[in-house]
């Protein structure tokens, strides 16, 4: 009954009410950022004294912003793919495996999340200087992969643990090879975990600023580094404009995905 929406009764209002409040809570800063990006005041005042498109014009006039967005996208995409892949393999190994020291390994895989990023940044930077990886795309990807992997492992590992292995075994019984069973039965079964792993890995890289400062070079600057530099010096709603654009872009993507799914339903 607790998982049946129609039979919840009074509980439905409680859950719905809290969800509404949280939804508004989550939306509020986004709406503010969008509003500020059209405000005519350089200082973050709400309500703004006037409306303007000036910040968007500035944004498009400066190729540096577009380069930064593309650099961020490139790094984050590669990191996401690798992180989910490595996380998937490691999750299978840690959850299904039967070797000693699984707990220790699991804790080890978590440590990049615990250690303050700046310590990792300095340590990795010193290593990369020796390997001549600093300022390269490979170096950037490796650095972000290290901090994204724990997210992927946690999400996929949890999903895998909850997944009933009997279904996979049944597929093998029906004639599938073990890997075929995993690919066609288990993976769809843990798709929520895979999705979370992908999103978290992408965002871990997309929003990351400390490692990015160390890994950056004149030719390779991600968006957070640019925003960081801009915010140190001058407050400017250009950053709000950049954020608003990305939000709009993502919202459109999500809308398209939802419509696409809707059209595929019978």
């Amino acid at each position: 009954m607790l998982l049946d929406y129609d039979r919840l009764g009074a509980l439905r209002w409680l859950l719905g009410g809290i969800s509404l409040a949280v939804a508004l809570f989550l939306l509020l800063p986004i709406l503010l950022i969008v509003a500020l990006s059209f405000g005519s005041s350089q200082w973050l005042q709400f309500p703004p004294p006037g409306w303007t498109l000036r910040w968007y014009r500035e944004l498009f006039a400066d190729p540096g912003w577009l380069d930064a967005v593309l650099a961020s996208l490139k790094v984050a995409s590669i990191v996401t793919v690798l992180s989910v892949l490595l996380g998937l393999l490691a999750a299978f190994g840690l959850v299904r495996g039967r070797f000693r020291g699984r707990e220790v390994l699991r804790a080890l895989f978590l440590t990049p999340m615990v250690l303050p990023v700046v310590v990792l940044a300095v340590a990795l930077y010193a290593l990369f200087l020796r390997l001549h990886l600093n300022g390269t795309l490979a170096g950037f990807v490796i650095a972000h992969l290290v901090i994204a992997l724990p997210f992927a492992l946690l999400s996929i590992g949890n999903a895998l643990e909850r997944f009933d292995k009997a279904i996979e075994d049944a597929a093998v019984l029906c004639g599938a090879s073990p890997w075929e069973a995993r690919l066609r039965v288990t993976l769809p079964g843990i798709r929520l975990g895979l999705f979370a792993a992908a999103i978290f890995s992408f965002l871990a890289s997309w929003d990351e600023v400390v490692l990015a400062i160390f890994m950056a070079s004149p030719d390779l600057q991600t968006l957070p580094v640019r925003v960081w530099g801009a915010l140190r010096q001058d407050l400017s709603p250009v950053i709000a404009a950049a954020s608003a654009l990305l939000v709009a872009f993502t919202a459109v993507l999500m809308l398209l995905a939802a419509l696409f799914r809707r059209s595929k339903e019978p």
Partner: protein, 289 residues
């Protein structure tokens, strides 16, 4: 693998007793971690016992200073508080998401994911603007007559909690949502058939089933909160300075890498110890039921 293709017997895949079964799958990720995390970080942490003189001087300084210990305690307090608030708000939302009709759940899901997409600094500045004494929230409350003096919502623990809860909520909601979705609703029918009331169902069936999901989400949020410094730096007062901010100052401003390494190592050890405790309590590898 034996696959007998006789239609008189059902082939059962034999249990392969390999001592290191599955280790090979872990190897790529492990290799990456060892090469590009363990080794370089250890080299840096080694400086904590080598600089400025060999010995435990940095640790003595860390534990002997009330400042560092206070900041350390602050960090865990704030992380714990944020985790608790995020759990309290995130659990109902995840529950709702898992069972609501498609239209509402898709919209809510979209909002949750969208909130993660704005740049971290932009989000934090937005909260600064909202929470200021002359900000939107205070002005609305004053206009509505609920308060007469603006509330101090920023530059203190309240501001940090609000700011960090905002960032951490999706990290709690998504795993919890996934956990709730895997529960078979039929279980509750079975429970009520056995005579369980709503409350009993909640306590003795639902919560134990989602406990691993809660543990996973809480762990992620807690651990992430320990390492955050951007948001606390902008929204918190200096009285609640977090360890990550102090370590950043030590590394990038004071260039005292020995002491920074010592502080980082202490943080690491304490956190892993807490994680070990959590494993003992909740265990892992234990599936639902």
């Amino acid at each position: 693998m034996v696959m007998a293709r006789s239609d008189s017997t059902i082939p059962i895949p034999p249990r392969i007793r390999r001592p290191m079964a599955g280790f090979g799958l872990v190897l790529p990720g492990l290799g990456l971690l060892l090469l590009f995390f363990v080794l370089p970080v250890l080299a840096l942490l080694l400086r904590s016992v080598l600089e400025p003189q060999p010995g435990l001087g940095n640790y003595a300084e860390f534990f002997g200073s009330t400042t560092y210990l206070k900041v350390f305690l602050n960090t865990f307090t704030v992380a714990g508080l944020v985790t608790a608030v995020t759990l309290a708000l995130g659990f109902p939302v995840a529950w709702f998401l898992a069972i609501a009709p498609r239209r509402w759940s898709a919209l809510l899901f979209g909002i949750v994911v969208l909130s993660m997409w704005t740049n971290l600094l932009a989000r934090t500045y937005a909260w600064m603007v909202l929470l200021q004494r002359t900000g939107l929230i205070n002005r609305t409350l004053i206009n509505l007559g609920i308060i007469s003096e603006p509330l101090a919502l920023t530059n203190n623990l309240v501001g940090v909690t609000i700011g960090m809860t905002y960032i951490m909520l999706p990290f709690m909601i998504l795993p919890l949502h996934a956990a709730i979705r895997t529960i078979d609703p039929a279980i509750f029918q079975a429970a009520s058939l056995c005579g369980a009331s709503r409350g009993q169902s909640l306590r003795r069936v639902f919560l134990p089933l989602v406990a691993p999901g809660i543990a996973a989400g809480a762990l992620m949020v807690f651990v992430m909160s320990l390492g955050y410094f951007v948001t606390p730096s902008l929204l918190g007062g200096t009285a609640n300075m977090m360890l990550a901010e102090l370590i950043a100052q030590l590394v990038q401003s004071l260039l005292n890498w020995g002491l920074a390494g010592a502080a980082a190592l202490v943080l690491l050890v304490v956190t892993l110890a807490l994680y070990a405790v959590q494993i003992r309590w909740f265990g892992f590898g234990r599936t639902a039921g």
